[in-house]
């Protein structure tokens, strides 16, 4: 290993130490990157490079996609769209054994299409679905596990905040990433559905059947989500078929969110002010992380660490599947120590060049990385979704929530393996829609 690569490795270790010590993710990445650049190039180039990256990031047109999608999400919250997804899905399948669990997964996917965040999805759907499932006699462990796992769909279903950040730091097309995420999100839902059906088949007591709601009630539920569904279809469909770029789609989505609020008579000054304030705060947090990550990325690319790690992996096996399995293990181990965003920002500059050397698509890697991150959301000791659900159902011990999520964690591992074995799951749809 060269001395530069060694400096890169030391930088990664220092970064891990700073992250674990509670230094903000953006600051940790930026400081290590800045320090590394100073060591490798000198103070003046390090200062100038950091200054250039700051201005470029803040004024970058493509980055507008992030706050504008966040604004769309907050306006949809204000329009009270979250509850409607669960009501509509519960009306359709809630009467079957495990039906409310299936409805929760469907609602998480639907809500994920407007929120783009796992935590927000788990929290929002959890607030609606958990009391209903528990009231209908669902086992605590099963009900909480379903919502904790289902929440990860918030990040899988486009437009996803994590995919936007990945697209920016890896310089990949956000539109292609969104399109590539559609089939993996659907297969993830399918695997969760199969898990629910199997669990209910072998342990019927955990999710009893409920009375069927009337046909009129079911229609009302579907009609209630029609406006949000149209908005989501326009945004995602518009990107996929090339009507507009992701940045434009975010603007169209935010305007659509405003119209949705007005249509539902929920567009008030306090609601708009709250949506804007939340958007600014969350965007600021993500901007800080992106600035830090870009500086760190420049440092890592200068060290040649990725090449060193690549030759290390190559010396173990030159088989692409084996190499990706090794990378998956590294991601899962790191994912049990770091939260999703930190994991992505730390590993992308190192792993992306390796993946490209293996002949794999960066778009595919983005989807793979997001899936690995999602597993970290339901995996102790971090498992943020578990704690979010624990916050909603305080009387259910965290150990029971974890037991409930275990079968879904199994489904996640199967899904990750499927993504490695069949890259077409992510890559065929973008090819089909934009050949």
């Amino acid at each position: 290993m060269s001395s530069d690569a060694l400096a890169g490795l030391l930088g990664v270790l220092l970064l891990l130490a700073l992250l674990v010590a509670g230094v903000p993710i953006g600051v940790s990445l930026g400081l290590v990157g800045f320090g590394g650049l100073t060591l490798l190039l000198g103070l003046e180039p390090a200062l100038i490079k950091s200054g250039v990256l700051l201005f470029d990031t803040l004024s970058r047109y493509e980055l507008g996609v992030l706050p504008l999608f966040l604004l769309m999400a907050h306006l949809c919250f204000a329009a009270n769209a979250s509850r409607d997804f669960f009501r509509a899905a519960a009306g359709l399948v809630g009467h079957r054994r495990g039906g409310l669990a299936l409805a929760s997964v469907g609602a998480c996917a639907g809500f994920g299409a407007i929120s783009g965040s796992s935590l927000a999805t788990a929290a929002t759907i959890g607030l609606v679905a958990l009391p209903e499932m528990r009231e209908r006699g669902y086992s605590d462990s099963f009900a909480t596990g379903v919502v904790a796992a289902g929440g990860t769909l918030g990040q899988a279903v486009p437009p996803s905040g994590a995919l936007i950040v990945f697209g920016i730091i890896s310089e990949q097309s956000i539109g292609k990433l969104f399109t590539a995420a559609i089939v993996p999100a659907l297969t993830q839902m399918l695997l969760y559905g199969i898990t629910i059906v199997l669990l209910c088949h072998f342990r019927p007591a955990i999710a009893p059947a409920s009375p069927r709601v009337s046909r009129a009630e079911r229609w009302r539920g579907l009609v209630r989500i029609l406006d949000v569904a149209v908005l989501v279809l326009i945004v995602i469909g518009g990107i996929s078929v090339g009507w507009f770029t992701p940045s434009e789609a975010a603007s169209v989505g935010a305007v659509g969110g405003l119209m949705l609020c007005a249509w539902r008579r929920r567009l008030t000054w306090p609601a708009l002010g709250h949506a804007l304030a939340e958007t600014l705060r969350t965007s600021g947090m993500i901007y800080a992380v992106i600035i830090g990550a870009l500086i760190f990325s420049v440092f890592i690319s200068l060290t040649g660490l990725a090449e060193a790690v690549s030759s290390l992996i190559g010396s173990v096996s030159d088989n692409r599947v084996v190499a990706m399995l090794m990378i998956a293990v590294v991601l899962l181990v790191l994912g049990s120590l770091l939260d999703g965003l930190a994991l992505m920002l730390l590993t992308t500059p190192i792993l992306l060049p390796i993946v490209q050397q293996l002949g794999l698509s960066p778009i595919w890697f983005g989807i793979f990385l997001i899936r690995a991150m999602e597993i970290g959301f339901v995996h102790p000791p971090i498992g943020m979704n578990l704690y979010v659900i624990h916050g909603i159902a305080k009387d259910v011990p965290i150990s029971r929530i974890f037991r409930g999520v275990l079968p879904f964690l199994g489904a996640d591992f199967v899904h990750l393996l499927l993504l490695i074995l069949i890259p077409g799951l992510a890559l065929e749809l973008p090819k089909l829609l934009a050949p």
């Binding site: 674990v20 010590a21 509670g22 230094v23 903000p24 993710i25 953006g26 600051v27 940790s28 930026g30 400081l31 800045f34 003046e44 390090a46 200062l47 100038i48 490079k49 950091s50 200054g51 250039v52 700051l54 201005f55 803040l58 004024s59 047109y61 980055l63 507008g64 706050p67 504008l68 604004l71 009507w243 507009f244 940045s247 434009e248 975010a250 603007s251 169209v252 935010a254 305007v255 002010g273 804007l276 304030a277 958007t279 600014l280 705060r281 969350t282 965007s283 600021g284 947090m285 993500i286 901007y287 800080a288 992380v289 600035i291 770091l338 939260d339 965003l341 930190a342 000791p381 971090i382």
Partner: protein, 148 residues
């Protein structure tokens, strides 16, 4: 977030970017074009993102890994939080220094956008003010961290 100037500047910039970009899409599909719409969106986004960074810092909303900090004693936590605030101040000060350096180098360059000739100098000043603000907030927060 208190509804002060920061909120109004950031919100107005965000809504402007949204409106201009959405209008540009509609016009394009109608066969018309809004000249320089991207440049307006870029300038608006710089204002919005600068306000957003400061708003996140004021609200202590920066993303942090909680693995260790939630499991240590109050005294250790206090020190870790102080060190973290100090390192944040150092990082943002370095960003400010780099930005000032570039702005100083380009002071006679009359940088402007291509179509609408929007001058970059005021935008650079906004970004510098934002990161200087972030460094100041971090130092202020370091002094304000007290034992629980």
């Amino acid at each position: 977030m208190s509804r002060g100037p920061l909120f109004y500047i950031g919100s107005a910039a965000l809504l402007t970017a949204m409106a201009i970009d959405a209008a540009a899409v509609i016009c394009r599909h109608l066969g018309l074009s809004i000249l320089g719409s991207i440049e307006i969106v870029q300038a608006a986004m710089l204002l919005a993102s600068s306000a957003a960074l400061v708003a996140a810092s004021l609200a202590r909303k920066h993303a942090t890994v909680h693995l260790a900090i939630d499991r240590v004693g109050p005294r250790t936590r206090l020190w870790l939080e102080r060190i973290s605030a100090f390192l944040s101040a150092v990082f943002f000060a370095a960003l400010a220094a780099g930005s000032i350096w570039i702005a100083f180098d380009l002071r006679h360059g009359h940088e402007a956008s291509e179509v609408l000739r929007i001058p970059y100098a005021p935008l650079r000043i906004v970004s510098i003010a934002a990161v200087l603000g972030l460094a100041g907030i971090a130092l202020w927060q370091m002094r304000r961290i007290e034992p629980e």
